[in-house]
Each structure stands twice: as structure tokens, then as C-alpha cells.
Symmetry: D3
Subunit: 288 residues, 6 copies
């Protein structure tokens, strides 16, 4: 695991957290107010109910800090750890009103972030030893970009650009508007910010060749078979960093990786990761 | 379809939209600035690449209105419509910079909301004729509660409570804190706001009986087999509205519905709906 | 007093607090800067200058925490306590600049919230022994809904729905649009969220009958005399929860309560509660 | 009426408006969705049910613009107009869902702002011909400062400082901290921003004298009888602008005004103004 | 230095701080993540690289508190202190990731605020002994009003009004609209809030005379030579507070001051102050 | 001029605009209310009082749209145009209250943005024909990053990275933490996001050599003389993109450019650009 798996800066996800707390709690948790004394205390554990890759503990902690700063929180694993069903992500001790008010929001964050990390890890494992990397896309959930991309890192994947502002990717529409691959690449290289590399989407070996000849050193091969990708790797692999996307599933993933392509972009790890099954249980306190 | 499928009030989703635009566009779409003239115009269509239930067009429209108020937007279907692969959700005409800047954010919203609506519809279809309803849960994505719940409606499902403030659900922890089903139900009924109904989670026929005898008329049967549910329906179905949750899949769904239970709660329709495949294509304008 | 008089979750009133501090303090308290050394310290007490029901201490505390986190704050009574003129609500110790900067904002919050609680308590006392409850309305001050409703609880009143989203109340316009009481009730019952009870506004015994026959079990009798209310109670009181509103004053309140109606809704407790007289005095410290 | 009764700049009250809409509508108006077709239209009037001074039409208009920009709004009177019971403040035409969603928020704003304007007008009328002015205080509702103060203007009153940043008022605590009236006035005059006048609170003729001798030309006489005020007016009225506050009611108001004091500060016009009775009725359209 | 150089209340500059952190850090500091262990610690000093007047330490401290609350911060000078090149403003100890993430934002705040304070001090020194004051204008940077004005105080200058709401300044356009100096002054004096003084812009001795005769006691002499100003001082200096603005540079500043004018307004101290050269260096800890 | 000088997306500068309007206008423009009829109309022009490069018209337009949507706005030049003293940037027609309320905020934005563009243009002109580019830094004003960087483009300069998230720059502290240039470059290249280029700060020819040998192709030469820069250009200019910073003034700028270095980074164009002299005048309407 990378030694610098630093959670994103809070200012980049606190507005989402505010939204989440407001939408689930609002003025009051009516049920708890009716049935639980306001000074009742307890211990709780957040528990994996399936094997998963842990992710999002920093958000879950902040959820509970917000609903009740008196709740003591003890993380029982680290971001990116692999947990078995039954293992514990976090322990809580404090007022039951706060623990129950934060429960669903915390679990909803964890379920998605562990879900992405776990699915990413599965893709990463599938291509182990091939030298290829699993890369994410901008197909993240609106409002969740930085969290989704952090979960990809936790899963062992690699982040593509965050947004339209921090990366250049010439896609079909840009190429068409510019008048072809050659023109688009030349325009982009001539005027691109020096710190950003120009990546070009290509849909054939011919386009890949044209892009390289125009000076591109970073290609995105879109919607090609593993064989076609292998062909482009052989032609351009020494001149350019090659990435592939489109039509890739867990079934054909390894074939793509074995083509020699450096990066495999998978939208599904963020747009379609199923939630992990995680639950909060009130319990008697035992050691982590 | 309900004649009142009104999109949620914009003030309930505009903060999420602001987040989404800021995170994907930020100061600038560098690629378009490098390759497309700032006054270039075009037509685009947003197209289903799979069969799906349309949902979220009102958000997608607002995305494009925000990036460029000059873009003309023409929806080509209604919320909750069933579309085949190849059918068009929306047409756009206007500046390419705006269309491309809004593309990913609009598609990400649509892909999730159509995803939820489509999956919900599948569950709803599966139990057609049984008289049961598919009900959602609070397992929505943080920040997305109102949108996720609207997509459930579009899919033909029924909304459970929105949040902790607008519904009462006595779960295991409340029951334990109150000292048992009977005590919890009595406490809740005695003091509940008059406009809110008290729902009680039960895990056995005995608990269901106890809840009904304590006055509850709305139960949530958690983690029981279809047979156990059928048994509870027979005992309590005339005294209480019955809902079931836990361990229900598309495979066993119809069995649960045939138990006679009125409502079937499915967390997966919001927490694990895969994104629909939807794309924006630049094109020559043809009629809807 | 209810053992669960929990102040509303801070996320539901902090935006109002931010507004309040910004509007009264802005960049600086010019007067204090001109006349008081920036390191001057002192003790202060917040004192009732009339008999009142205490309410809003949690907001006042947060006001002072915001202007100067170093100020030590000691509440001297609990929410919902009855105080005599001269009794103390809260003591403060710390920098005079902060105490004086927060003074007016804290007092303005307290004066209104104690005002509502005190007026509510007066209504509650007036009908003691009748079994009726005093219920609030949505006639709260814009921006203050959760605080105003908490003050009603502190006064001994009961909250009606918080908002349009957490309760169903068929009023004259809905009934007219639906084509009459029967149609409106049937439409609402057929499609209402299961967790929300349908309340129907009626203006005569005939309408009350019609509503009950259509299935309603929660009525709001609007603008009737105590005698008319008594008549409706006798006809429908066993079939439905009855609430009354309109034209009710402290003078005729007990007559309404003696009609046997369960709930009496009073807009005035939130829309027209006079402020309580509360002051902050600098002093020498004595025990609470 | 002043020819420049300009409503406060929207940026100074839009956050409060946002809060108000969110708290009352949230995701949806459940009742209207159940009973009224989403394309149903109608006409409505907002009507005075008591004699009142109109105030806040600009806010009410913005409420309806926000819930549905298609609603046509026609104000039927101007800010500060005196209306009889039965007269109309505003007419609306458009979607019923929007009109009913905005109804309560708009009425709540109007009821308070008309309430303040109406009460202020009553105080102003009471002292007609005396030459004194009715002045407000900072005892406004938190979050409402600019609206409350505008309503005072609409009632014919005069605004005191808005906040701690735009006026200097040496009160007892400042005077004590500075070491007496003389020292406080001298410190303040020596260092006050040139554009702000120094006002000094005094509680006796002796203090008034001391303040004037120290250079003050603007006094606030606190908690004195009309006779005492008259005495101070005779001693200092030519050297300083005199304002009086504390213990003033509609009953003794005219006595204070006849003392010759220039300004009479009344906290009650903002902190305790009862709401005006104003209602929205659906109707058939007739001319204003 | 004034003993009440109190930094502006945080609520008046925290939105700007939030903007600043978000724009510079966003989700992550990529470079530090690539090259520095996430648990690496260090000491740093913020150092003047030129002679300057210190200003803005309270903002810089808050920057580091936000990026990492664990960083220990030790200010080594006070607001308004004069520092030589090489002297230290502040020392930090803690995580390198946080120190480096906050570095640029903190320095950018300090560089501008020290820049304003330093330039202001230079103007103040230039007129030492003349009795005139250096006054700022509303030509501050949008978003920075309260910080810029605080830096003027730190430099030894005097604040003019903060904004359009807390001061009255009749300028050419107001005078033209009102129909001349006399009419404008009389209108303003008749209706001005009692706590605000009326200042009038004049462009000749004749206008100054007219303004004084109409009752003005605070003039702004715009765009006149030192001789013309001296003439107006002799005519009106005893009747009115005189301020001068327009065309004043460090070269002719003393001439203006020697005219006897009380206040000299300089836009350049806020709109054109060059940044001070200030750097953050990692170091071994030594005493302040 | 670049044909894609697109103003930054409004969502990236509207919070700053909100701050600016609130801080200058607040509840009201007192002076205009006292002296100008609320329905008075007029024409105004915004005029350059010095030769300048126009920048920021899009912000100024939005200022006036916000204060009064009825004001007609006609820009009279384009972003990046060179104007002589006396030329007009923009004409306005509409309510005087709005024009005067927006005046100072609009001018303050324009004065800074034209100031940056004008100073940048001067640097760009100074090195014309050398092939070097003028590059900005992160020494922009907090809150103003996207606007300041746009003004650099308008001046003919080139943007360096926007923030810590969209570029990699190994500076002295990163190199020290990593254990030297070689280690730092290798670490960064091994793990850097593929779309971002690694730039390395070097302070000698030896370090430049080391960086290139470690694989860096983008250097920042800090604080060297033109001769030293020329030496590094000769050694590494073919292997790496070279940028220089530190100690560069308008006087020695051309010497640096003549060294053959590709990019010259100038902090002063954003941190110390003096404001341009721009004024708003009420006038009789004439053609642009």
C-alpha cells in the first residue's frame, strides 16, 4: 500500500457531509426521542458483514464528531486494509442519541467507499503480475469526486485526472472540432499548460500512429478488442504511454492486461460499485 | 404512472448540483479551450445505450442551464418513461464549450438516477399482480436522498420515510433501550406526534403479536424467510400494515410477495443500483 | 416535563446563528474598541426581569462560544424551568469584548424563545385537567421553525407537523381541488406514504362525518364555536383524533378544552409571543 | 412617506429566505402532491383580515418567484400603505402547487413585517404633532435585522444604528470600564471614526451634564420618568440630540413626547409586535 | 499604537479564508504526497525578507489551524510591529504535509496585509508632526474590505467608512442629482440617521463655503493643489473637519499635510500596495 | 491574442462576488437613499484614466446585473484590448441607485484585473522576439486565484499550475525530505499521476544535471544570474523545458530572456500589480 494514502483535505468533502447530515437528521431523530433517555450511553461497533477493503473511516469518524463531540471513536483498522466478514471497522462509545443519529449516514458513506475500494481491489488482483494498472474515470457520483477517487486509491487503483481543469484529454468531439487527430494534437501541444500532459483518444492503430507522429506521448485506446490493443502496443508502446477503455469487464480484463497496455480505465469501479454490507451494532465493549 | 410525479423542489438538490459542477469544471475545461473555438456551436443528443427507465432529466437540464444559459434544451421523453437502447433522452443545441463542460456531470446524474429507476422497475415488474409494493430505505447515497427517492418513484416504487425526522421506526436498539417490544410500542404511541405512524421492527411471530397487542399497526418484519413472513401475515395482517426487509433478492422476491405482505423494502435499489449506460453524442439535428 | 427535551441538532439552527452574529457584529464592535481594553475581563449574569419559562440556553451558549471560545459559560437553570423575576439564566466569565459583542444576539434569541415557552405554558396551564393538548402551527417565524417548535415543547405544548414534507393536512384548497371531502380523503388515503397520517380540515359537523366515513381518523375543526366543536366531538370523537383551530383566545380557550377535543392549535404562541424581558449585567461573581 | 423607501438589497435577506423555504417545503409538499394535479392552475389573493400597514411585499413576491418562476404576481398596494380589513395586498396566478407551497412562508413574512409596521405606525400616530420621532433598537429578531428595520421605516419610524459596526453608543458597561462618563466620552471622541457620532447613555441629569461637558452631543436617557426627561431636555436640549428609552408604553408615550425629547426608542415595535392577520385565498380573478 | 488593535471578528473573514484554502489546496497537495512521508514532522519559520510592518498573523495562524489542527503555532511578533529583514513573524512545528499545504495561502495573506501596513506606515511617517492623519478609502480589494482596513490600522492609518451602509458621503453624482451642494447637504442633514455624520465632497473653495453654510461639518476636498487646500482650510477649517483626496503621492504628501488639513485619504495604500517579501523556511528550532 | 480567452466559469468566482457585494453595500447605500429619488435614471460610462489592458469586464457586468437586473450594460471593448486614457470600457443605462451601488465594487474588480493584465503585457513586450514566455505563480491574492490567472492570460502571459492539485513542483523542502534531487525526482516520476508533468526546482547547474539524469524534463531554475541560467540552458536545454524565477525585474528581464530560457516566472505580476486608474462617470449617452 502507498505510504501516503492521505485522506483528502476536509474542505473538499465537508459540504457533502453537511448535506448528508442535514438530509438524514434534520431537526430531530423522532424515534430515539420517544424511546431512549437523552442521557443513555452505550458502546457500538461498526462491523463488516462481508469481506471488504476498508475505506472512508475518516468520514465516518467526522459524522459522529458532528452529531455529538463527546462520542469516543476508536478506529480498528486502517484505510485500505482487507477485512473478513465479522471484523470490526470502528468502535464507538457515548450517548445513544448521537450514535443512532449518525448511524445511517456513517454507514451509507462507508458502504459506498468500501464498495468502490473492494471492487477496485478485485480488478487489481485480477491483473496482478501483468504490470498494468487499474485507472479510474470521471464517472464518479456527482458531489463525491474526491471521495470516490480516494476509494480507488484505497483499492489499489490509480487516479486519472480529477476534473476538466487538471488534465487534457482530446476526445472524439475535440478531434472532430479541431479537424482530425493530427491537427488536434498539434494545437493542444502548442498551447497546453506546460505542467499538463496531452492525452489523445484513438480508435484505431492508424489513429494511434497519427497521434504519435503529431507528438502525442499519452494515448487512450477506446473500445478496441484485446488483439487490437496488442497491435497498438506493439506499434506505439515505446513512444507513448498507453491506456485502454471501453467494453472491459472482469471476464476479459486479464486479456487486456496481457496485451502489454500500461493502464486500464474502468468506469464501473466508481459508477457501479455495489455497496458493501456493513452494520452498526450496540454491544458490550471488548478490545479491538 | 402517478399523475403527480413532481420533481423535488430545486432548493432540495441545488447544493449538490453546485458541488457537482464545481468539482468537475472548476475554473476551466482546459481541453476544450485548447481545441475548440469559443464560439463554435453544435447539436447534441443524450442517448440511452441500454433499455432503461428515464429519470433525472430535470437535473440534467439544470446542469446545462448553469454552464451556459444560451443552450437550447429539448427533453425527448418524460420522467419514468421506458426507453429502448438507442432512444434519445434529450437534445441540446448551443455552444460546444458549454455542452462539453456539462456533459460528464449531466451524464453522471442521469446514469445513477436512471439506474435506480430501472432497477426499481425490475423489482416492481417481478411482483406484478401480487398486490405488494416495492419500498425504498434510507440506504441512499449521502447528499442524494431526495434525488434517489424520486428515482424510486420514477421506477414505480414507493417511498419509505425520508429521514429520521418524518417517520418513526422502532428498531432493535430502541426496543432494547425501552425494555422490550411492548414497552417500546407503548412509549412511542403515548408520545408520538399525532401525524406520524409508529412502525415497529419485529424478528419473529411472537414479537409481531406483542407489537400488535401493544397497539402497533405498522410492522417491519426483518430477516425472515418467506414462510415465516406468511405466518405473520396470517396472524397480524388484518391488524397491521406489514412490511418485510432483509435478505431479499430478485430471486426470492416473488416468494415474499406471494406471502401476502403489503410492502417489501429493498435497500439495493438505492445503495447498489448499477449506472445506466447513457452517452452524449454531437450530431446533426433531426426531429425527436 | 418530558425527559427527552433534546435541543434540536445544531446543523438545523447554525445558519440562523451565523446570520445573527454577522448582522449584529460585522467586522467590529466599534464602541467597545473605543472604550474597553482588549484584555479586560469580567463576570456577567443573564437575568430574568419577569417571571418566565427558560428556553434557548443552548443557543445563547453557542453565541458566546462563537464570539470568544475562552469565555466560561455556566447555565444556572434548565430548558423549560420556570423562573421568577430576578433569577439567573446563565453566568459568564471572560473577556469583556466578547461578552459585550455577544450580548444583544444572545438576549434576542433568549427573549423570543422564552417568550414562546412562557406564552405556551400559560395556555397549557389554562386547560390543565381537561386532557386537551396545546398544539403549535406552521405560523412560526421564517428561519426559526426548529427553534420556535422547540420553545413550544419547552412550554409544555405539542408539536404539529414541522413542514409540508412531514405531515399531510388536507385544507380547503386541497378539498376543493380534489372535488370534495370524500374525494380528497380517499385520494389521500389511497396514496399517502404509509408512515404519515392524513389529517383533514373540516368546517362543519357534516364535513366531519363525511371525512370519517371516507376513512379519515384525524380531523382539524376550523373556525367553529365551542358548542359546534362539542357536537363534532360527540359524533366523531371515537372514530378520529380531533383538533381545533381558529378564533381561540386565552379567554375562550378553556371552553374549547371542555368540549372534549383532544388538541387545540394556537398560532399565536409562535406568531405573536411577546419577548420576555431578559438582561445581561456585569457583576461580581456569586454562586448560582 | 419618505420617497426613498427602498427595500433592502436582496443580498441582505436572501439567506434568510433560503432558510425559510428549505425549512417549510424541503423536498416536497406531500399534501398537494396527493390531491392536486401537478398542472392545475388558479388565481389567489393575499388579503388583510385586519386593518394594517402593508410591509414586506418584496419578500413575498420573491417567495413565489422561487417556488415557481411561472407564477404571475401583481402587488395591489405599496409598502407603507394603510389597508382596511378585506383589502388585498397581492394577487397571484399560476400553478396551484407553487402557490400552495409558497403560501405559508409568504404569509409568515408578511404577518411579521406588517405587524411591525402597523405597531410602529400606532406609536407614531400617538405622538403626532409633538415633533418627536419613534426610533427602533437592536432588539430585532436574530436573522431579521434588515427586514425588521425596514418595517420600522414603513411604519413611519426612524432607524437607530443597524449594528455594532455602524454606530457608537456608550452604555453603562462601557462607561464603567472607562472610569466614568467624562472619561468614556473623551476616549470615544478622541478616537472615534470621523463619520460616526458618539451617543452616550445617561441615567440622570448630572450624568447628562457631565456627558455634554465632555463634548457629547447625542445622549440616550435611559429609564427616567417624563418629568426627569423634561428636566434634562431643558438643561441639555440645545447642546445635544436627546433620545429616551426604557419603560415607555403606549400609555405614557405621549407624556414622554411632550417632554420635548427628540427621539423615543421603543424595543417593543420589533421584539414584541404581534403578527397581522393575513390570509391567502384561491379565487376568481377580479381587478385590483 | 492603539491599545485596541483588535483583529476583525472571524465571521467577517472566514468565507474568504475558506475560498483561499479551497482554491490552493483542493483535494490534495500532489507534490508532498509523492515525496514526503505522511507522518514526517518539522519546524518552520515565517521570515521577513525585507523591513516591514507585521500584519495578518491572526489569519496566517488560522490557515495552519485549518490544514492541520495539530500544528503548534508560535507568533514571534505582534500586529503592527516593525520588523527588519531576517526577523521572524511566526514559528510552526508539526506535520510537514500540513505546513507545506498551508504555506502559500498563509504567505499570500501575510504578503498583502504586511504590504498595506508597511506602505501606510510610510505615508504616516512622511507627515509626522503635522497633525494630519492618513485615511483609507473604499478602494480595497473585493472580498478583503475588513482585512485591508485592519492593515491600514496596523500601519498607523485611520479608517474611513467601511461601506455604503455605515457612512454618508455626498459625491458629485449625489450633488448633481439633488440639484447642487446646498440642496444635497440640506436633504442629507434633514433625513440622515442621527448616528452618521454627513460628509460632502467639494471641488472648490466656493463649494466648501456653500457646504458649510448649508450645515455640513465634514468635507472631502477632491483633486485640489496644496495651495487650494490651504485656502479652504483657512476659510472652513474651524467650521468643519477637512479631508483631502486625489492626486496625492508620497512626493507631495507633506505639502498637503502642511496645509493644515486634518485627514489625507490615500487610495493607493490599499489598491496598489506591493506585496512584502516573506518566506517560510523549514529549520531547526531556536528560541524566538 | 488567443482565440479562446474564455472567462473562468462563474461558479469559480461567484462566491467572491457575493462577498464583495455584501461587504460594500450591505443593507443599503445610505447616501443615495438620502439624495437621489429611487426612480431616477441615468447613463454612465466606465472610463480608463490611463493606458491599460482591459480585463474583468465579465465581472463588472455581473456586479451591475446583481444590484439591478434592469440596468442595460454595453461593453465597449473586449478582454485583452489595449485602451488609451479616455477610452471607454463599458456603458450603463438604468436606475441611478443601482449604478451607484455597484460602482465601487465594479471599479475595484476592474482596477485590479486591468492592473495585472497591464503589468503582464509590459513584461511580455519587454521580451518580445526572444521566444521566452512570461509565466505566473501561485502568488495570487487569496480568493482571487482564477481571476488573477485570467488577467495574466489577458495580458499575454502564460499560466503556471493553478494550485497544489493540478501540478507537481518539487521544491527545496520536498527535495530535502526525499533525500536529494535524484531521489526526489525518481520518487515523483515513479508515482506521479500520468497526466501531470514533474517539474523540479534547481539552484545550480549541478542540480540541473542531476535532475535531468534522474529523468526530469521540466526544471525551475531559482535565484540564478542570467549567466548561470545561460549555462544551464546550454547544458540541459535540449533535455528539459526550462523555467527561471527569483530576482527578476523589468530591468534585468530581457537579459534572462536572452539566455534562451523558455519560461520566466514573475510573482510580481499578480502579487504587486498596481491598480489601474478607472472611473465611472454619469454622462449623456453617445455611441461607443
Amino acid at each position: 500500500m502507498p505510504w501516503s494514502l492521505t485522506p483528502p483535505h476536509p474542505s473538499s468533502w465537508q459540504v457533502l457531509l453537511n448535506l448528508a447530515l442535514a438530509e438524514d437528521i434534520g431537526p430531530a431523530d423522532v424515534t430515539s426521542q420517544l424511546t431512549i433517555a437523552s442521557d443513555a450511553n452505550g458502546h457500538a461497533r461498526i462491523e463488516a458483514r462481508q469481506a471488504l477493503v476498508a475505506c472512508g473511516l475518516f468520514v465516518a469518524q467526522e459524522v459522529f464528531r458532528r452529531v455529538d463531540p463527546q462520542i469516543a471513536i476508536e478506529p480498528c483498522c486502517a484505510e485500505a486494509d482487507e477485512l473478513e466478514a465479522g471484523q470490526i471497522l470502528m468502535r464507538l462509545q457515548g450517548g445513544l442519541h448521537g450514535i443512532l443519529a449518525g448511524e445511517r449516514t456513517a454507514l451509507n458513506f462507508l458502504a459506498r467507499l468500501c464498495g468502490i475500494a473492494t471492487l477496485t481491489r478485485r480488478y487489481v488482483r485480477e491483473i496482478e503480475g501483468t504490470g498494468s494498472q487499474i485507472v479510474d474515470t470521471r464517472k464518479t457520483l456527482p458531489g463525491w469526486r474526491v471521495l470516490d477517487k480516494f476509494a480507488v486509491l484505497a483499492g489499489g487503483g490509480t487516479n486519472h485526472r480529477f476534473a476538466l481543469y487538471d488534465g487534457i484529454l482530446l476526445k472524439d468531439n475535440h478531434i472532430a472540432a479541431a479537424g482530425g487527430v493530427k491537427a488536434a494534437v498539434e494545437m493542444a501541444l502548442a498551447r497546453a499548460p506546460a505542467g499538463l500532459r496531452v492525452q489523445v483518444e484513438v480508435e484505431s492503430a492508424a489513429e494511434a500512429e497519427a497521434a504519435c507522429q503529431a507528438g502525442a506521448d499519452f494515448l487512450l485506446i477506446d473500445n478496441r478488442t484485446p488483439e487490437e490493443v496488442r497491435d497498438i502496443v506493439q506499434r506505439c508502446g515505446e513512444r507513448a504511454l498507453l491506456e485502454v477503455s471501453g467494453g472491459i469487464t472482469l471476464e476479459n480484463l486479464r486479456q487486456y492486461a496481457q496485451s502489454g497496455v500500461a493502464r486500464i480505465a474502468i468506469g464501473a469501479i466508481t459508477h457501479s460499485a455495489p455497496a458493501c454490507d456493513i452494520a452498526l451494532e450496540l454491544d458490550d465493549r471488548v478490545a479491538c
